[in-house]
Amino acid sequence: MSKTREKETTLYLDPQHPGITGNMMIKLKVKGDTVIKAETHVGYLHRAFEKLVENRNWLQSFTLMCRFCVPEPDPMELTFARAVEKLEGREVPERAKYIRTIVAELARIQSFLLWYGGQSGSSGLYTLGQWSVGDRNYILDLFEDLTGARIYHMYMWPGGVRRDLPKGWIDKAYKTMDYIEGRLDNYNQLLFDNAIFQKRAQGVGIIPKDKAIEWGVVGAPLRGTGIKHDVRIDEPYDAYDKMKFVVPTYEGGDVWARALVRRDEIKQSISIVRQALDNLPEGSYYNRIPNPMKWTVPAGEAWVKTESVRGEIGFYVVSDGGNKPKRVHLKGAAYTHGVTVLEKILPGQNIADVSFILNSLGVCPPEIER
């Protein structure tokens, strides 16, 4: 090795979408192609959602929630709605619980399909990304029919959901599930059976099992270290207590294990959507809130957890009894994964793997900056 290659250099890796959705910069100290130190720098996306909602009434706040994270707006809505319901003691009709479960699982599927694109794209395999993101549109079509919008649905609000299922939606949902399920083998062919991906993913970006809990790892990265943890099973909400599904785990803690977990979770999500559609109860979809102009929520604080696509998220909502939230705080997966974990596991990795690892952790910068 020549002397120049051994010299330490500082490398600024993007603030522009570094292989993930959202702007974030990683300051790397590299020696040759090897990372020796990584620092996450955020601040490119600060929109002050948590502060903004303090000046909006409860209903207006609800429309901001989905914007915390583009690839998975629904879990944010759902968690905020559940937090407000907890403060108010508001009951949710059984039908609404099932619809919420369906929407939350569809959100997982579409987000995993987007992840396929990111994960394969950051290893140079672009065909799969075209396929999966194209197929994701079928799920977005379902969302459009149901909620009126493709990405920011603003659909699950305190008391239930905003509108009932439209006519013919259930059939369309079944057909879409069948289609997506049929496509999974094609994805496997291009990704998991692919020698390039296998070589790139195995043994890369390892999160040690004994550190995972200590670092606060959640979601697929946690299950990829062999630890079984899922809020949907541990503290079921909505209709999850009535759904039968398994939580896939893989040993290894590397990008490969995390990818396998996600691959298997799509199947589980499809199964949950089908179960919920099969058993969808009749009845009201909405336990209506009072006039939103005068809606006040009893004073108190609530901490509510949900299993989002990237892992456990939680909303801490405080009300002083007024018509606006006093404080809303989101504990998302992105902060721990994108800052704490990333900085710890990058040293020793190849520069070319940084985006690849980042993608497998499921980092969403807008959620870090909230």
């Binding site: 429309t63 079509d141 029919d145 020698a195 006039n291």
Partner: protein, 596 residues
């Protein structure tokens, strides 16, 4: 993994199988993606249905919606004349505006493409700029999904069978929980404020009630209404007619909410403590007020607060004028008026009772000693039916009848009564007659739905057993040899619409019918008695179709003489209009004297 892992190399080549398949993409702009039945695209606003309440603009947290005036929209009763304009640079398509629109006029459409290099084309007035989008309405809010609360909290009433046994108050009033719930329905659009003759701060006090601040609400109410308890029980509530919620649901019970607040403060000392108005230093100007009705009392109260020395001259032995003598006690108990007058007295209003101007004191004297005079003399003389035998025994004018009953005088009306008329006074007379034990028929020349009386009063009368005889025109009082009423002869009428105008009742020839009765009570309107005014003043005083002509300051054509109440009004002959006259006369008098 070895390089010979053939599966890993060959497997991705499976993608080649997809070659030749039709892509499921569309080629824009040759094709446009068809959006769903519920798509949240650009807005469409039905300009005719929209009432310009501005609720959409209020809920929009991006401030994307401005309310703007349009040339083709004039506004008017229950319509602000403004329509929403959306800035699509700010709109986030959340459609909360659709869900909170009380009229359902604002919807979203399937349209989503707007390409132009002029940024101002993205400022769109839905409905005006895209009239054809009506066919593509997608996301809308029906009664079920709308966020407005359309159902009114029901008012508890005395059972009709119990009611006719006594003069106990019929409306039992909201309790605290009911009032909060009802106040919660208000969307604070303020159309009611515009419709109220005195422009009370309705959204503000309802907001205070909703928050549980009843004292604040009372303070706000007293800002421009000194007789809120009266209004809380018997107001004709122009406000509720224009309530935005009323377009698709039941109007917010503004009157009962005001009633609730005033009833929570139950004596004059407490009112004084809660309202705690600012009283200016005495300014040495004197104002004389003729008539202690709502107009006179209001002028007296607000003038006192402004430091004027005010004296009221009242012919009767009690204050209140027509609200005291004309409104039955089951609607407005005596102590409601007394409580508020006691409070006014504490604020410095002086009242001389049993002092009839023109008899006990001359008008000229009052005019000379005061710096301004306000006249609220009301309508004391009833119109006569103008039919045969109207002077018979047992023919009453409603106003005299009610005055006698309210003064606890003994009134003999017999077993069967026919009331003639369709206004609130006629319904009062009918319901009072029921309480005196008579069976009551009510003759009205048009249809029941044409009756100018309050719908709640009409329903109340029906519940209590008053039988309406619509489309009947009295022609003769039938009497016995002692000139005692034994019946009423009337003609049936048919409704004939001329030139598409309001249908008029036309008598059907030969349809004479006689209904037996012991009394006939006529309630077809009253006129003012100007006997108190000296001839010279009467000659100078400009009149307008039998009523005193006034300007916006309630000033008459006579220097320093102001007037208000029923004797200056057409149409809105009611307490709240009288209160408005008193209130605005205060401002007029203040303007005149302070300019000196």
């Amino acid at each position: 993994m070895s390089i010979l892992d053939l599966k890993g190399i060959l497997s991705p080549l499976g993608a080649l199988k997809q070659i030749g398949k039709t892509p499921h993409t569309i080629t824009f702009p040759d094709e446009q993606k068809r959006t769903s039945e519920r798509y949240r695209g650009f807005h469409y606003n039905s300009l005719d249905d929209c009432i310009g309440c501005g609720n959409c603009s209020t809920i929009c947290m991006n401030e994307a919606i401005d309310m703007v005036g349009l040339a083709e929209i004039n506004g008017g009763k229950g319509d602000s004349g403004l329509r929403p304009r959306v800035d699509y640079g700010r709109c986030c398509y959340c459609a909360l505006c659709v869900d909170v629109c009380p009229t359902g006029s604002l919807n979203m459409t399937k349209d989503y493409v707007q390409v132009d290099n002029d940024p101002f084309t993205f400022l769109m007035t839905p409905g005006k700029d895209n009239p054809d989008a009506q066919e593509r309405i997608s996301f809308s809010a029906d009664l079920e999904s709308s966020l407005n609360v359309f159902d009114r909290v029901p008012m508890r009433e005395l059972d009709p069978d119990e009611r006719v046994k006594s003069f106990a108050e019929v409306m039992l009033g909201y309790n605290e929980e009911e009032a909060r719930r009802e106040a919660d329905r208000c969307i604070s659009c303020g159309l009611c404020t515009e419709a109220c003759p005195v422009h009370m701060h309705i959204p503000e006090y309802i907001n205070a009630i909703a928050k549980g601040n009843d004292n604040d609400a009372l303070q706000i109410i007293y800002d421009n209404n000194d007789l809120p308890e009266v209004c809380g029980k018997v107001c004709t509530r122009k406000c509720e007619d224009v309530c935005a919620i009323q377009v698709r649901g039941e109007t917010v019970a503004i009157r009962w909410l005001k009633g609730y607040v005033t009833e929570t403060v139950n004596n004059a000392d407490l009112i004084k403590k809660v309202v705690n108005p600012e009283i200016r230093e005495p300014n040495n100007y004197k104002v004389g007020i003729i008539g202690a009705g709502p107009a006179g009392l209001t002028a007296a109260y607000y003038l006192s607060l402004r430091g004027y020395s005010v004296t009221i001259y009242e012919a009767h032995k009690d204050p209140g004028g027509m609200i005291m003598y004309g409104i039955p006690k089951y609607r407005l108990p005596y102590d409601s008026i007394q409580k508020q007058v006691d409070y006014m007295k504490k604020m410095g209003v002086k009242i001389h009772y049993n002092t009839k101007v023109g008899k006990d004191i001359q008008f000229q004297e009052i005019y000379d000693v005061n710096d301004a005079v306000f006249m609220g003399i009301g309508l004391q003389n009833a119109y006569t039916l103008g039919i045969e035998n109207e002077d018979a025994d047992g023919v009453w004018s409603a106003i005299d009848f009610l005055k006698k009953v309210n003064s606890d005088e003994k009134v003999e009306i017999g077993k069967k009564v026919v009331v003639v008329g369709g206004g609130n006074v006629s319904i009062d007379a009918a319901r009072v007659s029921r309480r005196l034990g008579a069976t009551v028929n009510q003759s009205y020349r048009r249809r029941v739905k044409d009756m100018p009386a309050d719908w709640e009063e009409i329903e109340g009368a029906e519940d209590e057993g008053v039988v309406f005889m619509p489309q009947t025109i009295p022609t003769r009082v039938v009497t016995d040899e002692n000139n005692k009423t034994i019946g009423l002869e009337y003609l049936k009428a048919e409704m004939v619409s001329q030139d598409g105008g309001r249908p008029r009742p036309v008598p059907i020839e030969g349809s004479e019918t006689i209904i037996e009765c012991d009394s006939v009570i006529s309630a077809i309107g009253q006129q003012a008695d100007f006997g108190l005014l000296p001839k010279e003043i009467m000659e100078e005083l400009e009149m307008n179709r039998g009523k005193i002509a006034i300007n916006d300051d309630r000033k008459t054509s006579i220097p320093k003489l102001f007037a208000g109440g029923d004797s200056v009004r057409y149409g809105n002959v009611d307490a709240i209009s009288a209160i408005a006259d008193g209130y605005y006369a205060t401002i007029g008098i203040d303007k005149m004297l302070m300019k000196k």
